[in-house]
Amino acid sequence: MKTYDIVIIGGGSGGLAAAQAASDPNLDVLLLEKDAMLGGILNQCIHNGFGLHRYQTELTGPEYAQRAIEELRDCNVEIKMKTTLYHMEKKQDYLITYINQAEGEITIRAKAIIATTGSYERTRGAIGLPGSRPKGVLNAGVAQRYLNIEGYMVGKNIFILGSGDIGLIMARRMRLEGANVLGVAEIMPHPSGLTRNVVQCLHDFDIPLYLSHTITDIKGTDQLESITISEMDYTFNPIKDSEKTFEVDALLLSVGLIPDITTFNGLSFLKDERTNGAVVDQHFETSLEGLFIAGNALHIHDLVDWVSEESEKAGLAAKAYIHKRQGKKKCLVEVLGNQHINYVLPQTLDINNTLKDVTLSFRVKEKYDRAMLYLKQGEKTIIKKKARFLVPAEMERLSLPENIELQKDQPLELIVEVIPS
């Protein structure tokens, strides 16, 4: 059985950055990708707006992917394409079984794993949409792949549920391709995607956005025929006589992404119910030694630039783990957020290991125009700064000071204190 030092699972933006960072002339590093091309979801995100942080220029998704692929070119990394992982277990090392056409079914051994498996879309069932179940109801990301890679439209008269960025981007995309986009409904009183996308994807094409609305009926026996939306009151119950019906042949759902770590169900590591991903330390290592998770497989990002940065750190950490850290005991300090914070990552910091170059990522629960941010351990304030325009749609980042010193057995607290306007 062949043994690798590090195996990276998934060759999208996360996997490409992780592989490049983990590569080493003296290590056997393997990258597994299920598709025929590297770059993952970036390949179907043909719109621009990527790379402003990482490459200081505005790129389309495929261009961003191309850069990451080129950066990996001269690295000592073996890549297997069209390869599906189908079993994984931990003995002394990790045992990975994969399948591809050239080799058949193969089991390999790995000392460390980096999971960069991305996310999946929340489905109709998960949000309990009422009505019949005709064809024509599908996830926005699936419709995006059909259109931008496979080359066909999923309908001519479209409605979109959810104002997440994928939904907004698809509204414009379908309109440009000649479809009639009748509207976008959002259950919350505010759009969940970036303002820039609301303006450039909806306002530009006079596509109506129905805030505080959701779908209350779906009709059609074989093919989707119509959908009905209703306005919601503040308790999220439909308001009587507010129904509007639209005749459509496709309904696209953009109602959230969930970290895809189902492949690792056979491994036992701590999960975080707020992110639906794993609990990690500052090196993106899970509670299972040698298992690293980064990118959307860890928590959902709104910018790919941070996926790359995070995965790069996971790659470097996996390499350091192989070289010297294996078996070294950790001393974990918890990182907690207050009531205005939805989640903070990493959830733990290992104070027996380096705390250099650590960035906390967090999302707030509501929109706050002005706030104070504090990072505290007990009575000691580590960071105090002003923050403006915190919104749930945008992930916030806070870098830890270089010379940070932490006590053990006491949690670190991230506090958002809202300043009333």
Binding site: H47, T60, E63, I149, G151, L176, T195, V198, V199
Partner: protein, 115 residues
């Protein structure tokens, strides 16, 4: 007549109003004024779409306009691009259509497709 818009220059998202004499209100900084004037006098957008390609791995080649083009030319450009048929290999940033819809802007591929 006043026109309303949301500024997208930064995350603040000011609600702007601009009148026929190009007087801008509602902006909190100078950049909002520039944005509003540009939006009413010459709104432009980068067009990103796909064209058909004969290849082993994909049926569509992603493309973009090299620079923003006037907003009212977007659908004319789409109509031209829907008639384009490429064959692999295509290099990154290869010119797919020159001077699309008389905008003096070229359409470039945004991917390399080798086979």
């Amino acid at each position: 007549m006043k026109k309303e818009m949301i500024c997208i220059v930064c995350p603040v998202g000011c609600h702007l109003e601009i009148d026929d004499d190009l007087k801008v209100t509602g902006n909190q900084c100078k950049r909002g004024e520039v944005y509003a004037k540009e939006e009413v006098t010459n709104p432009t957008r980068v067009l990103t779409t796909t064209v058909a390609i004969k290849s082993d791995i994909t049926r569509r080649l992603s493309v973009k306009s090299e620079k923003p083009i006037p907003k009212e030319k977007l659908f004319e450009a789409m109509a031209i691009l829907n008639r384009v048929w490429k064959e692999a290999p295509v290099d990154l940033h290869e010119i797919i259509v020159e001077n699309i819809a008389d905008t003096k802007v070229n359409i470039l591929s945004t991917r390399r497709i080798s086979k």
